[in-house]
Symmetry: C2
Subunit: 555 residues, 2 copies
């Protein structure tokens, strides 16, 4: 049955394998929330399905449930009222371990078939998942659909492709024949068995539960591991639906459903540490705070942890052709999902003496003012603004925002907007501050949320050096540099490569530094403290399985 | 210049890439120590080169030397009298770091070319290296030539091939073109840069300095790292020659010689811990004791450690066709290099009630007696025996041997032999003990050296279960099972796969359980405590480098 799924999706897998070899544009999952693509009733069906989930227990027929828990509140202003199974950990581990032998025997094709079918069904359910993502993360609907649906599915498929390629690069059998001069050669037949590491733990985050969660989930699954999904207590629903679909596909394939298990918890009684320290857990995928990521690395020594943590992303403006094209691009980047993306820029460095802009010279204040003006204009109309800003996921981010204004001179005040459809939504426009390069302590920490600095640096080169040194010390996922000088760009490339931070140059069109496209952009390099792995490359999958050989004389 | 080396060896690399895809028999480095292959004077030249090294400083023109150290004594009975540079660690790290940018710019082809040229020159020097390996490890000459020369070079080349494949699976550039309905597509050009992790540390062992050392050395080098080679103080010379050749090739390629550096130390003032804890060190390759391997994993947290540690290898004899063919095979396995291979079997389980052997039944005592008799006969003639036994590398192994006889009932006494050519050589024949499965504490630890147990088990199945449970808890690199029953072999396969131990079935011909052939046998699985990595697979190389991307709008 899992082989049927493989046959059904083999063309998709082949295209994905081609895409990871070339890393150009490709996706099998359309990002447009369009009835023509997903079915005319898909939007309404998705919303109805979401509403039907509210105010009741989420029925997941899984073992070892100790209690039903859940306290999700939509950042748009209402309680979801859903409860989910919270496990007895001993029982959960026993169930996951018992499922492993059948999963190993399913083989790379059988496992890939199941993963591809799960992704296919997730895709068909993108409208429902979009509602779930919107009302847990606070993303505006279109973003919740795209980033939480098709783009997350892309990242999952990308992980399946890397895992499948890595496994199938190991031949299942070999014939070894060693010449012995005039005597008969020595002849051996060998089998190479792919074996998962055991049980994997995927710890979800509150802002991108599916986009950041699917790579680890699918990378572990396809390589032969069982996966316990431990969502952030504030964003359980998108992953609960994912687990439900995964279990449904596994059952149809005649495989143990317990290869994918949900472990819901609450902020008051978190389970992540207890789960992470279990000897059965051999792989951990985590997106979240540096403190907890480092705790996992230090303490869950029996497991390999793939962690995306905090970072301080930066922009350096050295010189531009057209300042309006630059500020338009930046206004979107700084506003998108209220700066709650791990790829959002925080520190914008501008030479103290100003910059060349086309034929003109702009002072530092003029550049700062132009950016702030563009951000203000972008968010001037609340009805339009909320469709980009979304809502702020956590009250802690609003508190951080309120406290941040003391860290510099206010360049642009954050405003509280009223969402036309959700009057209780937690909506804030970006806060912008100015600072001086010498006040590095103010801006060399991650200030998660819609908070950014325009920083006066001694020069463009000094800005590059400070920014990349900060990236090496505190981490960064993205860098963006504006310069009309090829030598400056070359220097930026060298320093960013050394700091392990992905660089975008002179973004002025419809591509934004916070966007990372599956199959093409490596999200995180693993080469600075912001992440110890990349989504997604061979290193992300290679150690999720082992090879065990059996050999004998040839008959 | 490094590109010239690439061109010169491209066919070899292509063959190696084909070999790792198929994992059949292949080698470019002939294992026969033959004048027709290596040149009629090669043997004499190698011996002369070795003798010319004795009793003087080893001239390595490398920076940051603090002292010259060295106290190697040949297990065949004479002091080498060679001293080697022992570093000022700050200076060594600075030199290695300074060499990195040029190495990154050399690119995958440039680095592969250099590695292939180093291996080619090592191959041409196999007779000299054989002398160096013999008189540090105690291996008999032929084994020192094969395992220390061509087979080690094979393992190095295998690592180069895996590293090269992993790097070149990342396209250097991509064009990304995203459709925008009727509008122009979004177009981006992207570069993907391969960046090594930094400085790697390769910690050599005393028994197989090149065979166990080359995989890590070449895997780190080809992927863009500098490598500090820290040999075991008892086996420096083979790796010093290796470093010398590597530096010579790098210089000829116009690259910094300091990409490969020697760090010699002494047993009294070891450097491994100080080196391992340096922040510059991002990768550690280690072969040796479980205690130190675990110390590295626990303490050198800034680095990824690839460790081969101790294990308890086993044989289960359930039933045989021809007991003589079995005992002949075992006699060689137990005698080869006096049991000082990490792959040598230690525990031989036999059902308490005896076994079926062809049409006959053999009691436990008859099976044990047949094995012991074959080992005794194999080593009866000292002149012939020493060519397989070699010498015992360390006095500690002789002490262990002397103490081990209290752990069971002596089945075959160890004898001290006089080497005809080296009367001072430390030569011991295997000690064999019998034990009962219930006395597991005696045999579930590694007793490195020519020490083995024939253990009475309740049944073949009980033996399998005890042996694989021991492997899961204490580690094992090899398992060997004899059975004429396909169901028993199937059970053995399942249990060995679960325990992560490589299984050989019914070895009776010219292949021995302790032999692991590059390009075909995975040495270690990484799936039990004997090793956390395999020599060599994709996982062994995938995390030695990172990918950093740069993107811009297409022109």
């Amino acid at each position: 049955m899992s082989q049927d799924f493989f046959a059904a999706h083999q063309a998709t897998l082949n295209n994905a394998l081609d895409a990871i070899a070339k890393r150009g544009f490709w996706t099998p999952y359309p990002e447009a929330p369009s009835g023509r693509i997903y079915g005319e009733t898909a939007a309404a069906d998705g919303e109805a399905a979401f509403k039907a989930r509210l105010d009741k227990p989420f029925a997941l027929n899984q073992p070892a449930t100790k209690a039903m828990v859940g306290a999700e509140v939509s950042p748009f202003g209402f309680a979801l009222g859903i409860t989910y199974p919270s496990p007895d950990i001993d029982g959960l581990m026993a169930a996951a371990k018992a499922a492993l032998p059948a999963w190993r025997r399913a083989g790379p094709q059988g496992r890939a078939g199941v993963c591809l079918e799960i992704l296919h069904r997730l895709n068909r359910r993108s409208f429902e998942i979009a509602q779930a993502v919107q009302h847990t993360t606070g993303q505006a609907f279109i973003m919740a659909f795209q980033a939480g649906g098709p783009h997350a599915q892309d990242r999952g498929l990308e992980a399946v492709a890397y895992g499948y390629r890595a496994m199938t690069e190991v031949p299942p059998h070999a014939h070894w024949e060693k010449p012995q001069g005039k005597a008969d050669p020595l002849r051996m037949d060998k089998d190479y068995h792919i074996v998962g590491q055991g049980v994997a733990l995927m710890i979800g985050c509150s802002t991108f539960p599916t986009w950041n969660g699917y790579p680890g989930l699918f990378a572990s699954l396809v390589t032969g591991n069982a996966v316990v999904v431990k969502p952030h207590p504030g964003a359980i629903l998108p992953l609960a639906i994912t687990v439900e679909i995964a279990r449904e596909v596994l059952a149809e394939a005649g495989l143990p459903e317990d290869l994918v298990l949900l472990a819901a918890d609450t902020a008051e009684a978190p389970l992540a540490k207890d789960l992470a320290l279990r000897p059965e857990i051999k792989i951990i995928d985590f997106t979240g705070s540096s403190a907890f990521g480092t705790w996992l690395e230090q303490n869950a020594r029996q497991a390999r942890t793939y962690a995306e943590k905090a970072g301080v992303n930066f922009i350096v403006i050295d010189s531009v052709d057209d300042i309006k094209a630059v500020t338009r691009n930046l206004a979107f980047s700084l506003s998108l999902y209220s700066g709650q993306m791990c790829t959002t820029p925080q520190n914008i460095f501008v030479p103290r003496g100003g910059i060349k802009a086309g034929d003109a010279h702009l002072s530092f204040d003029e550049v700062a003012g132009a950016i702030a003006g563009a951000v203000a204009k972008f968010n001037a109309d609340p009805e339009r603004a909320v469709e980009v800003l979304g809502a702020v996921q956590s009250q802690a981010t609003c508190d951080r925002l309120d406290q941040a204004r003391s860290l510099g001179k206010v360049l642009l005040e954050s405003r509280t907007l009223t969402h036309p459809a959700f009057p209780q939504a937690r909506v804030r426009t970006p806060l912008m501050l100015t600072a001086d390069a010498k006040d590095a302590s103010a801006f060399t920490q991650e200030l998660f949320g819609p908070i950014s600095f325009v920083i006066a640096a001694d020069s463009g080169e000094a800005a590059l050096e400070l920014a990349t040194a900060t990236a090496k010390q505190h981490g960064a996922l993205t860098a963006s540099v504006y310069s009309t000088d090829p030598a400056f760009l070359a220097k930026a490339e060298d320093l960013c490569i050394d700091a392990g931070v992905a660089l975008s140059e002179n973004l002025t069109g419809g591509v934004f530094v916070n966007q990372s496209a599956a199959f093409s952009d490596y999200h995180g390099s693993g080469a600075n403290p912001a992440a110890n792995a990349s989504l997604c490359d061979s290193a992300f999958v290679a150690e999720r399985f082992r090879v065990v050989q059996v050999r004998r004389h040839s008959a």
